[in-house]
């Protein structure tokens, strides 16, 4: 096995071993060890909850995230092209940005009641601002030489969008999409703690409330981590497309 595979594996095994040993040395910590957590995960699988909860969480993230992209990318493009729009909108964006999506929970419940829509709305909010700002910034980072060349050839607006503006921002856009998906996945847990009865966030709250099943609490955490890393790896594949590879430093 190559070093690049062996070392990460060693790290994981060492961390698991340290965890197990720590739990055995200090049982009073009340934290279940990795073996108990693995049993918890298999229990979830057997009860059919594993797939159900992962799918439920992914479902909410997908809709909230996609809805945010559909609005944020065109909005960011527009703001990036029109100086006036940007000057008008930028203060609002900057003020909204430091507000945690979780602060919106009461308003989400007020508007959409307790349920799926509220959770999706929170994920949507969490994704909307970073994507809008990233798209706008990407527009500003376009090399002026490329804009000048496009102007020189006098190509019409639609072709300019398709052949210059969009491809020019695409590498940065993909990075922003990847980071934003990470944020959306972070928020899903909190969103599911409010008021739904499925999903990995619900699992964590429910396992604690219904009998202090800390093995299931940690199982939920582990699953969140694993799904998160899979999402990230999938998004990274986009960065290898031929028409965007120029935008990354390693090239």
């Amino acid at each position: 096995m190559s070093r690049s595979r062996l070392l990460p594996l060693t790290g994981i095994v060492a961390a698991l071993a340290a965890w197990q040993i720590g739990v055995m040395l200090r049982p009073a910590s009340l934290i279940p060890g990795p073996i108990a957590v693995a049993q918890g995960i298999s229990e979830l699988a057997v009860r059919g909850l594993l797939v159900k909860y992962v799918v439920a969480s992914l479902f909410r993230v997908t809709w909230g995230y996609l809805a945010a992209l559909v609005i944020a990318i065109p909005l960011g493009l527009m703001l990036g092209m029109m100086r006036i729009g940007e000057m008008a909108m930028n203060p609002i964006l900057q003020i909204l940005r430091p507000i945690s999506p979780l602060a919106w929970i009461p308003i989400a419940i007020l508007w959409f009641g307790v349920g799926d829509i509220s959770a999706i709305f929170l994920i949507f909010l969490a994704s909307l601002l970073p994507m809008t700002v990233a798209t706008m910034n990407a527009m500003h980072n376009i090399d002026p030489v490329h804009l000048a060349a496009a102007r020189n050839f006098g190509i019409p607006l639609r072709a300019r969008m398709r052949d210059v503006l969009i491809p020019a921002i695409l590498p940065q856009l993909i990075v922003a999409m990847r980071i934003t998906l990470g944020v959306a996945w972070l928020v899903v847990v909190a969103a599911e703690m409010i008021a739904v009865n499925s999903g990995l966030g619900f699992l964590i709250v429910d396992a604690r409330n219904a009998g202090n099943r800390y093995d299931l609490v940690i199982a939920g955490m582990v699953l969140i981590g694993l799904v998160g890393i899979v999402l990230d790896l999938l998004m990274r594949r986009l960065e290898r497309l031929d028409s965007v590879r120029w935008g990354y430093a390693s090239e």
Partner: protein
Amino acid sequence: MKVQFSDVSMRFGAMEVLQRITLGAEEGEFLCIVGPSGCGKSTLLNIAGGFLAPGSGSVTIDGERVTAPDRRRIFVFQERGVFPWLTVEGNIGFGLFDVSEDERRARVAQYIELVGLKGFEKSYPRELSGGMKQRVEVARALAVNPDVLFLDEPFGALDSITRLQMRSELLRIWRAERKTVLFVTHDIEESVQLADRVVVMSARPGKIRRVVDIDIPHPRDLSSRRYIELRDLIFGEIGLAHQV
């Protein structure tokens, strides 16, 4: 006159960049503009290209006043003007949005051939050397059949061997296509090798010090007496003793 600068002046804030430039380039002429860094030669070219409005005075091309960039006159930047997200083919065909698909393909093939990039049609710029990228940009400019080419230190980022090769390539292409060329450089040797006439500018504020006719037929012998005479004349005009 094909390109005519009439009494062009320019200032950026308090800084006077160009002072009353009057200059003409004839149809099909290869005109080089040389001068020390910061003498405003690039600014002059950007005004002619329509990217900057002159502070006063005007530029006309075929008697028509230049107010904006136009696809009949194409500006060639250093090699970084190629679009890194398009292939060689995509770059060269970039300006051909208003012709049929067949004609586009034919023109792209023709100019790929002309600049010697056959076999690289599907390559991306990151897979090409600096010289090849510069060829792509020249081909992209020529493909839309402009009547004037503006080149702003196009070979400035290339190594000296590639630069020499690119000069003879450019001359070959220029003889084949007979465009009017305005070529800005700070390299005096380069200007004497390429130009029909060399416009020598002074340091800021840029003024025309002298216009030198290069009366040596192509291909030019770089060790001929006349070449050295003209080169030294320009060096002297810029105020550089030709010694290291």
